[in-house]
Symmetry: C2
Subunit: 363 residues, 2 copies
């Protein structure tokens, strides 16, 4: 839930205001809640709590890309309850087990808000860990369960080629790869592969043998052209809005040309390939998270959708263009989204939120 571009970090909107991630993350919450049963089942089947508490005094859990809450607290609660149930099923006294939970996000994340929102009735010792999860964050073999929801799609940086005027991958007139030449798409997928490679390498060192890692990542189904995936196409609408503003003289064309969106939505097959190539994890499960319907049974409104996008994307846009253009940009952007078919019910259903469960191989 946090982005890095050109070694700069852009977390979600902090604080608790109207545009904060804290107040605008119910969409992500749907996926997080739907992953609950999958996590419980995996813990019940293969989480070797008996061995872990023999060699360590407590169970360590990390949520990587946690942002400011509240979704991270829901995930962590799920994991802890699953481990407690596993204990009970094995005749272990779950009350004697202590949990330590590490909340990780970029240094620029609003940890102050995160810490103030920690649930009072939590049954764990909490710690915040600042830094990019594309590098090492924890000592070797110190974690038993790692989670990362809606974070791995954020690249560690914009691929260098797409901002290089002398490269065939120079992405002039666009901010994304949706309708771009193959060179641009390749630059994005290569950056994603490199980042996921670094992520898996670091986690393979940090997880104990037998430890579990749950990932939730928005993907594009194999064979679906990027432009037909709302996840990808909506970034194009942002690009169009920026170009419109350049035409209106509200922002310079150069500024738009040098802006590229550091996000990539892989196919499940791409991700699987990267996991296999790392070699340290067994894929226990890789399946779409079945999202529960919204509380009122309806699809999210445009307004709600835009608030979610703003909470997640504003810091990134602000860093490049300054804060002056944000309000007007989101007015233009909302208009485009409203009249496009991007969020029509049909394409909305093509969003593939992939749940991946990995088991750290022993030895």
């Amino acid at each position: 839930m946090a982005a890095l571009a050109s070694t700069e970090a852009f977390p979600m909107n902090g604080g608790d205001g109207s545009y904060s991630y804290n107040r605008n993350s119910s969409f992500q919450r749907g996926g997080v809640v739907s992953a609950k049963a999958l996590i419980s089942k995996a813990v019940a089947e293969i989480f070797d709590v008996n061995q872990f508490i023999t060699s360590s005094n407590s169970i360590s859990v990390a949520d990587l890309g946690c942002s400011v809450g509240p979704n991270t607290f829901i995930v962590v609660k799920n994991i802890i309850e699953s481990v407690e149930q596993k204990c009970q099923s094995q005749g272990l006294d779950s009350q004697v087990i202590e949990f330590q939970v590490f909340f990780n996000d970029h240094v620029a994340n609003d940890f102050n808000t995160l810490f103030k929102s920690l649930p009072c009735d939590r049954r764990y010792f909490a710690a915040g860990v600042p830094g990019s999860f594309y590098g090492r964050l924890f000592p070797k073999a110190s974690l038993h369960f790692v989670n990362s929801s809606y974070s791995l799609q954020w690249l560690s940086k914009v691929p260098e080629e797409v901002v290089d005027r002398n490269s065939p991958a120079w992405n002039k007139g666009r901010i994304y790869y949706t309708n771009a030449p193959n060179e641009v798409i390749r630059a994005y997928s290569t950056q994603f592969a490199r980042d996921v490679g670094s992520f898996l390498k670091a986690r393979a060192e940090e997880l104990v043998c037998g430890g579990l890692m749950a990932l939730l990542i928005p993907c594009v189904p194999l064979g679906t052209p990027p432009s037909q995936s709302p996840l990808v196409a909506v970034v194009d609408l942002l690009g169009e809005s920026l170009l419109d503003m350049a035409n209106m003289g509200l922002v310079s064309e150069d500024k738009v040309d040098s802006f590229n969106f550091p996000k990539y939505n892989p196919t499940p097959q791409e991700l699987e390939c990267l996991i296999e190539s790392n070699g340290c994890f067994t894929i226990v499960k890789m399946e779409p998270a079945v999202r529960a319907p919204m509380a009122d049974g309806k699809a999210p409104t445009i307004q709600m959708f835009m608030l979610h996008l703003r909470a997640a994307w504003e810091p990134l846009i602000k860093e490049h263009f300054g804060s002056e253009i944000i309000d007007e940009l989101f007015v233009q952007f909302t208009k485009k989204v409203a009249i496009s078919s991007t969020l029509s019910e049909c394409s909305y259903k093509t969003v593939l939120e992939l749940f991946v469960l990995l088991h750290r191989k022993t030895g």
Copy 2:
């Protein structure tokens, strides 16, 4: 370096502004630097790094009451360098040892500033731990070295009796115990004893057997009346300033009566007694930290001293009186300090910064 009053937490001034602790903590730095040699010697003599790295994959260090830096980074660097030297002296390769450092302070501490100030060349994995150190913060037996500098003098709360109009310890017309009846002094010392008891009980659980704990705490020498210790007497000058402001109609008398300063400076003997009564620690060392002279060889100026007090005390005062009175209060307070003998070179030398090194007993 943080205070709690009536279950409310008042950390040092956050951020990086003129009145921030970040910029105004060089006085505390003197003590921290002077403790370096004492920590190194203790690690060299009794820190069983060999045993620790056999049973754990890394060395865990915690700094409790860390505030926002930079002093905490100096302490942590000292500890890590001392452990590395110990490794070398034992023929161990210190480069293979990983360190995890936990920075603890109240939930209201400015962790965002702390995280942004983390040294880039650090040789450890960093984590922030929000919460009062008078309770448990870490899993059992998970820490190898605990440090706490200039923090234990802050009480977990104002003793209840001193704000109770029906108690003989009601502290009317004062904000502190300096020239107060014995009942008030007793209420403060009892609260301190209870707090240190809770602190030691929690740490005894969290430290591994053989682990070390270094404390730096400003004390009053046995036999010195509180009013003759600048540490204590300076709070009285703050109280006088508040009473003056009440007389000038700038703040209500009731408001001053209901304010008490949640700090207590024990004698070394009091502290020793509390450690013995806990029973889980051996006192390896208990001696005054010999403070290096200021860089320019001079005593701190009044202005510098006042900036330090403001960085540390402002949040506490603001919480009770609101932020409007702060500037005027510090004008009055500075005048009082300037004409009093509290900070004369003579009494300044009577400050006793006690360095205490404890060894967690085995079994």
